[in-house]
């Protein structure tokens, strides 16, 4: 015997409205993203302000590369897959 099939109606034509004013939730989301970006910029600025001449040892370089890689990694176009 086949499982019971439930038909799901299509969403009403005309439901799409990207010009709907953004509510509190979406505006909060944008603010939170901005906050995260600011934190991101701070870390980026800190890294850019490091004098390259100060990277003397392998440990110095690896610490720098570690931080730079972590930051650049988040600039990928798509979220990481499993």
């Amino acid at each position: 015997m086949a499982p019971k099939i439930i038909e799901v109606p299509k969403t009403d034509a005309g439901a799409y409205n990207p010009n709907r004013p953004a509510g509190t939730l979406l505006r909060s989301q944008a603010l939170h993203m901005r906050e995260a970006l600011i934190k991101h910029v701070h870390e980026l600025t800190t890294l850019l302000n490091i004098d390259m001449k100060s990277l003397v040892t392998e440990a110095d370089v690896s610490a720098y590369v570690h931080k730079a890689t972590a930051l650049l990694h988040t600039h990928g176009g798509k979220p990481a897959k499993k």
Binding site: P3, I6, T11, P18
Partner: protein, 410 residues
Amino acid sequence: MSVGLDNLKHIVVLMMENRSFDHMLGALMQKNRKINGLTGNESNPDTNGAIVKVQPNAQFQSQLDPDPDHHFPGVDLQIFGGAPQGAGRVANMQGFVKDYFSQTKDVNRSHNIMYYFTPDKLPVLTTLATEFAVFNGWFSSIPGPTICNRAFAHYGTSFGQVGMDIFYILDNTIASIYERMIQAGHTAKIYYYDQPSSTMEIVNLLKNQPQIFATFDQFITDCSGNTLPDYSFIEPCYNDHPGADGGQVLASDQHPDHNVREGERFIGSVYNAIRTNPTLWQNTALLVVYDEHGGIYDHVVPPACTPDGYTASADATGTGAPFAFDRLGIRVPAVLVSPWIPRGTVVTGPEDAANGQIFEHASIPGTVTNLFLNGDAKRTVREQQAKSFLGPLTDQMRPDDDCVVFNNLQ
């Protein structure tokens, strides 16, 4: 432990937006008296003193615009009917219409907050609720808005937050459920719908934990390819926006004033992705739950709860009184799906003084931590005491032809 629980390898949580239990599922009481829904006689006074009864007139869109108030002071009014702060006031769920009037400035329109859906309008959610398990006593974690409530689903606390501000991890020893799982060698992922919709409350993790995020397309691929993580949290689409191919992508979160039917279709697509993989189907539990009630009427008084050690100041609550996180928010729909759950299971809530159970969003990380990590993680007291939601799984798996499939979702 049941065979169903022994067999469980994946938990999937889909958290929708801003609808109360009675609004979405209250009418099901007419089909099953064990479901603590609506008799039809529940009411609220309006600002003219007229009695406004609940009515089965909810529509998919355009009825709850402006967005009903669900910030802390508004929810306080909804619960206590406008009684002044102080010891001895009684929660009566009589302030919903009054509060919505403060936004609509239109007495007739303020009555819309009492409207509920008939089951025929919500074939996906009501079918899952009646075919599997529905919780009579699942409450939002805080009588407030989205961000703080969703924080409880990820951390088991909002770190003292009762509003929409970004929350800060005030206690670095409390890790998110995703970090806990990954650190213990398990897999966990947040699937947000797409990049224009992104994630809602967990931006704290976006930068530091990019490996835990993926899009909904990847969820579909992971389901069909047997690569689903141990724990998955799905976020619906939060806004209407153009698709990558130039088409139209509709919000599917059901947040007013987004189309409720599009959310139905999204819930159905999550269910079908699991249901149509026979291996995944028998070892996965899907929880569909809403973050908070969105200002919409529910008749059940939120119960007291274990505080989690924070106090929100009177300034933060906006009510003139501090809040010790000792009362839950308003009740929301919650449905658990698995072939190991008998049809028509109702998990009783506060209406059942002897056996009823109370759930809230801290139950989510609590259940996942208990199942996969044997409870081995630093957690808030609130989360430690939250009930596991996997109780409805039994020893008996239903045959494949006994479990529904949704059609017409493409």
